[in-house]
């Protein structure tokens, strides 16, 4: 690439930080289609950003002290509990700028499931990890819709695929027997698609248990030490990562 066409470091940073206007964003995205080195670079920046978030998700425990009130130095009020949402390290999905979907760029860009479904050439034999870290009803429903579409599309096209849902933070609600609004649907999916696995984050479970919340998971759910470790393990095993 000629120097004059080079996307500056500031622009690359602004791209991953979603700070660009539409025209600039499109310019970087178009350049990425043509430039594998740029894709890798953006990929690294995104990973770095995710690692940053993860590193400070749980800072050292605070001393227990009462909440502040104006005019009182040390009021005797209950301290707020420390509840940090685990997740966000790998907050990116797929991108496809056209028919030449390059799976190596999957991690690099925010994307959409339409793109993922749009080109199955690169997915045959693939294993896809769907990371769910939000318990918002909309997010859970969308995640399930997409997983179901993915599984059905693969089956219809005779493709081999494995899908694993990894849930943590408030996303664990999806796999909670007593809280999941989709327990019946997930059970039906599991019955229909043996290639769908469910994994719960052990750290999230431990935190809930420590707060006196009994955690009961849907049948067949496996507990991983932590969602992060599971994601890294899967990435190393060649799984495709998608954030719900």
């Amino acid at each position: 690439m000629s120097e004059e066409n080079r996307i500056s470091d500031e622009l690359r940073g602004a791209f991953v930080d979603s700070q660009l206007e539409a025209a600039d964003w499109a310019q970087v995205a178009a350049q990425m289609e043509r430039d594998p080195a740029l894709r890798d670079d953006v990929c690294e920046l995104r990973l770095l950003k995710d690692m940053m978030r993860h590193a400070y998700t749980e800072p050292p425990a605070r001393r227990r002290r009462p909440a502040a009130r104006p005019g009182l130095r040390w009021p005797w009020l209950a301290a707020a509990s420390i509840v940090f949402a685990l997740g966000g390290w790998f907050g990116h999905g797929w991108w496809s700028g056209g028919p030449a979907l390059d799976p190596t760029s999957a991690y690099a860009l925010r994307g959409d499931w339409q793109s993922l479904r749009g080109d199955w050439r690169t997915l045959d034999g693939s294993r896809v990890l769907m990371h769910v870290s939000s318990g918002a009803q909309g997010a859970l429903a969308t995640a399930l819709d997409e997983v179901e579409d993915l599984l059905r599309s693969a089956r219809a096209k005779g493709r081999t695929i494995e899908v694993e849902i990894v849930a943590n933070s408030s996303g664990l609600d999806l796999l909670e027997a007593n809280a999941s609004p989709y327990a019946a649907r997930i059970a039906a999916l599991r019955q229909e698609f043996p290639n769908l696995a469910l994994v719960a984050c052990g750290r999230t479970i431990a935190r809930r248990t420590a707060r006196g919340i009994e955690v009961s998971l849907l049948p067949g759910t496996v507990i991983a030490p932590s969602a992060l470790e599971q994601v890294i393990k899967r990435l190393r095993d060649g799984w495709i990562y998608v954030r719900a």
Binding site: D17, L45, Y56, A67, A68, F84, D237, G238, W239
Partner: protein, 179 residues
């Protein structure tokens, strides 16, 4: 009016963990971070009436926190750079296999962040941890947006340098697997 005030107070109190986390990222000392977050909350609660737009609460709180940190540094007559990062952390750190443990990853990243010049550390943590826009960071730290971008750029270059072996290793597995 009273309703807004009560709701604002609750929102400020709920921001305590966010303030503590950011203070810890900035000063790298848990006890000091706790004091700073507490102080920022107290100041915010005392001056809650000055906040005109509740949507700007987070930026307003972070600005108070940044000022608390500056006051603290001035009071101690020293910069809050508490310890220089040991280069050996990156050079002799865990092997890629060991680095799989999230605790080690956390330590590596925190050490790398802690080794940044303070101004860069503030900018990169505001953007990456709190998702602040560049304009918000400029307001919080009272610096021009161009300075935000250049500090951010330098911070990331330094972080990538320090964390490159691990980043490459993770992405290497990822890329190799899809060929």
């Amino acid at each position: 009016m009273f309703g807004r005030s009560a709701a604002l107070r609750r929102d400020i109190e709920r921001s305590r963990d966010m303030l503590y986390r950011m203070a810890f990222a900035w000063c790298r000392e848990a006890a000091l971070a706790d004091d700073l977050a507490h102080e920022a909350m107290e100041k915010a609660l005392r001056s809650a009436g000055q906040l005109r737009d509740a949507k700007r609460l987070k930026g307003w709180l972070l600005r108070i926190l940044a000022n608390c940190l500056c006051d603290h540094a001035r009071a101690r007559r020293e910069h809050v750079e508490l310890a220089a990062i040991e280069d050996s952390v990156a050079a002799d750190g865990p092997t890629p296999e060991e680095a799989q443990a999230s605790a080690q990853l956390v330590l590596r990243v925190r050490n790398a962040v802690g080794g940044l010049p303070f101004g860069q550390r503030q900018v990169v943590t505001l953007v990456d941890l709190e998702g602040c826009s560049y304009a918000e960071v400029g307001e919080i730290l009272e610096i021009p947006i161009g300075t935000v971008m250049s500090r951010l750029c330098r911070a990331r270059a330094a972080l990538r340098e320090r964390l490159r072996p691990f980043v490459r290793e993770v992405l290497g597995f990822r890329l190799r697997s899809v060929k």
